[in-house]
């Protein structure tokens, strides 16, 4: 099998989206798309599943909420119950209203930062890493499809001829 990577370069997001639909209908698998901004509607076309990153945010948030509540229970009720301004600290439940703000803030803090860190790690984008986009202009005004010849039963020439049916700007290839 050939392990050639074909890059189809477009100059417009709409054209790429329509071309992607055309190519997929011919049985071509599009490995990835590089673009300067999100192309809405491309995910189902190239078969991307919905990200689960929002679920992780919920989990981090819940961890934050429980940490905050446990912490405040320990500090204010268990370890050193203070009588502040004639308002004693008896139990977590009776004191709960005044713990709400910090519980909320800490939950948001953990959810936001946890999700941001997950986002960085999952994308594998961290300080000092090099950009993996094939052409520098894909972050400016170029829209590129990455197609691997080995991903479908079609031959390289067939794939290229299908790409050439669309208004592609340039076809580039790379042996890997």
């Amino acid at each position: 099998m050939s392990d050639k990577t074909i890059y189809a370069i477009y100059d417009d997001d709409y054209v790429l989206l329509e071309s992607a639909k055309h190519l997929v209908s011919k049985g071509i698998h599009i490995r990835d798309v590089f673009s300067p901004f999100p192309i809405h509607g491309i995910d189902p076309v190239i078969g991307l599943e919905r990200t689960r990153i929002a679920i992780t945010a919920f989990i981090y948030g819940m961890i934050g909420v429980s940490l905050a509540l446990t912490g405040m229970w320990f500090f204010m009720i268990q370890d050193w119950p203070l009588n502040i301004g004639g308002k004693p600290n008896f139990s977590l439940l009776t004191n709960l209203p005044s713990f709400v703000p910090i519980t909320f803030e800490f939950g948001v803090l953990c959810a936001a930062h946890g999700m941001a860190i997950t986002f960085m790690l999952r994308n594998w984008t961290l300080p000092g890493f090099k950009g993996k986009n094939p052409y520098p202009r894909t972050t400016d005004d170029r829209f590129v499809m990455e197609i691997h010849a080995s991903d479908s039963d079609l031959s390289e020439e067939e794939i290229k001829s299908f790409i050439n049916e669309t208004c592609v700007l340039e076809i580039d290839e790379k042996h890997s």
Partner: protein, 468 residues
């Protein structure tokens, strides 16, 4: 392709291509700083250094050098704190709330507004810290194990809620802003020709490549962060207001405070965004992207929030009379007719009367008028905080303790200084960071660009043919 109603005015004027948008926004980053920038930077640096000097003097001598006394323990410091936090709120409102409402006009102003948020919260956070007197003990506000037995911080106190609220707000805003910046930094990285510039932006862009999955996650993260930041921004200023509302000082002890403070914060924040954006769009030639329509939309927000603030003032006044509590009613009689009457009436004129001039379409689309109004609103909102804080405490229950507050040069110097430090940060942002979220702006070009809006479907298909 997503089509927008023809009666909506375009948000991008002219017919820029994707690459034109990049070039227009990155012009300042890729070229040497202009004379105007250098002049402004010099002035801002001088004021900032003066402010740093005042702060160092204050730390050395103690907060007795402020005009505070036994009766008025909170004055300009907390006024400035609340004012700066309030300014910060517009940034989050634009980037988070308008994202949830899918308002496309946010894209041209969210980046500079969020930068404003972050720098304003820096300035705000400084005031409670220097107010502690011994700033090196500032870490005592954190619940850390310590040498006094297990003496913890008081989690029942709104002042501690504030510590958590402000620090969460600052760090979450920073994360939200930075995640949005990453793709734009990647564009600068890929265009940079000078090695140092390439290295710097390569580090800042975290190796972003803009593949489909990354964009999908990016959009999800932005949406969830907006969903988290929206209640956060409301909670932060509510908690700031509880610093006052949970006390028993007449004039502070009111349940209207949280919504009233939040509306005031948005009001002053949008005014500050106007002040900054009117200068930025002119100086950086971004009129194509920050249009008169954007300015008008912001002025409409100013009318709405200004009206909410006005209703709150009048409600407060009425309830102080209707409650029948003589201390409460005196607090308000003293506000509008006592020794600080000028502050109260300055607040009333600037915040309640002046925003209603914006009902006139001619005035709210006039740039010079908007600029003047934005300054007036900022002054009015500063006076609002001053009125709430100083006029309430300077005459409370015990007439024998009544006193007056007069600011000293250190009070004034520290406040001027924070304006300088803020300007230094903001000017650095304008020079080295992409001022508009230009990659996001590209994504609305087809639905809200002037060129595309006037185009029929046939013309569009001719311009962007899909098949050969």
């Amino acid at each position: 392709m997503h089509k927008e109603a023809a009666i909506r005015e375009p948000l991008i004027l002219g017919s820029p291509t994707y690459s034109d948008i990049t070039k227009d926004v990155l012009y300042t980053i890729e070229n040497k700083p202009t004379k105007l920038w250098k002049v402004l930077m010099t002035i801002a640096t001088i004021i900032a250094l003066w402010g740093v000097g005042c702060i160092l003097y204050l730390l050395g001598v103690g907060i007795g050098t402020w005009g505070l006394n036994n009766t008025v323990g909170w004055a300009w410091d907390i006024t400035n704190f609340v004012w700066w936090v309030g300014i910060g709120h517009a940034g989050t409102l634009i980037s988070a709330v308008l994202l949830l409402f899918r308002q496309k006009w946010r894209m041209a102003i969210n980046r500079p507004a969020e930068a404003m948020t972050i720098f304003a919260v820096f300035m705000a956070g400084m005031f409670p810290m220097i107010h502690m007197g011994r700033i090196w003990m500032a870490y005592w506000v954190l619940p850390l194990p310590n040498q006094f037995g297990s003496l913890w911080v008081n989690f029942n106190s709104p002042l501690l809620w504030d510590v958590f609220a402000i620090s969460t707000y600052l760090s979450v805003s920073l994360v939200f802003w930075y995640i949005g910046l990453i793709p734009d930094f990647a564009t600068i990285r890929d265009r940079a020709s000078r090695p140092v510039q390439k290295l710097m932006y390569s580090l800042l862009s975290f190796g972003w490549s803009g593949n489909a999955k990354a964009w999908q996650r990016f959009e999800e993260v932005s949406l969830v962060l907006a969903g988290l930041a929206t209640p956060l921004v409301f909670s932060v200023h509510s908690i700031v207001s509880m610093d006052f509302a949970t006390s028993i000082v007449p004039g502070w002890h009111t349940t209207i405070f949280p919504p009233y403070f939040v509306a005031g914060a948005v009001f002053s924040g949008f005014a500050m965004v106007q002040t900054l954006m009117l200068i930025v769009r002119k100086a950086m030639r971004l009129e194509k992207y920050v249009t008169i329509k954007h300015i008008e939309y912001m002025n409409i927000v100013i009318i709405v929030t200004g009206s909410i603030v006005g209703v709150a003032y009048l409600t407060e006044l009425f309830i102080s009379y209707y409650s029948g509590v003589e201390y409460e009613s005196y607090a308000f009689i003293n506000r509008f007719s006592g020794p600080y009457w000028w502050a109260y009436w300055a607040m009333m004129t600037c915040n309640v009367i002046s925003p209603h001039l914006f009902w006139s379409k001619k005035l709210r689309t006039n740039l010079a008028f908007t600029f003047v109004m934005s300054i007036i609103v900022n002054i009015g909102m500063w006076f609002e905080r001053f009125v709430i804080i100083v006029t309430s405490v300077h005459r409370d229950y015990l007439p024998s303790s009544w006193s007056m507050f007069y600011p000293t040069w250190v009070d004034i110097g520290v406040f001027m200084g924070t304006l300088g430090i803020f300007s230094v940060f903001y000017l650095l942002f304008l020079k080295y960071f992409p001022v508009l979220a230009f990659n996001e702006v590209k994504s609305i070009l087809k639905s809200s660009g002037e060129q595309y809006k006037n185009m029929s479907d046939e013309e569009f298909k001719k311009l962007h043919p899909v098949k050969k």
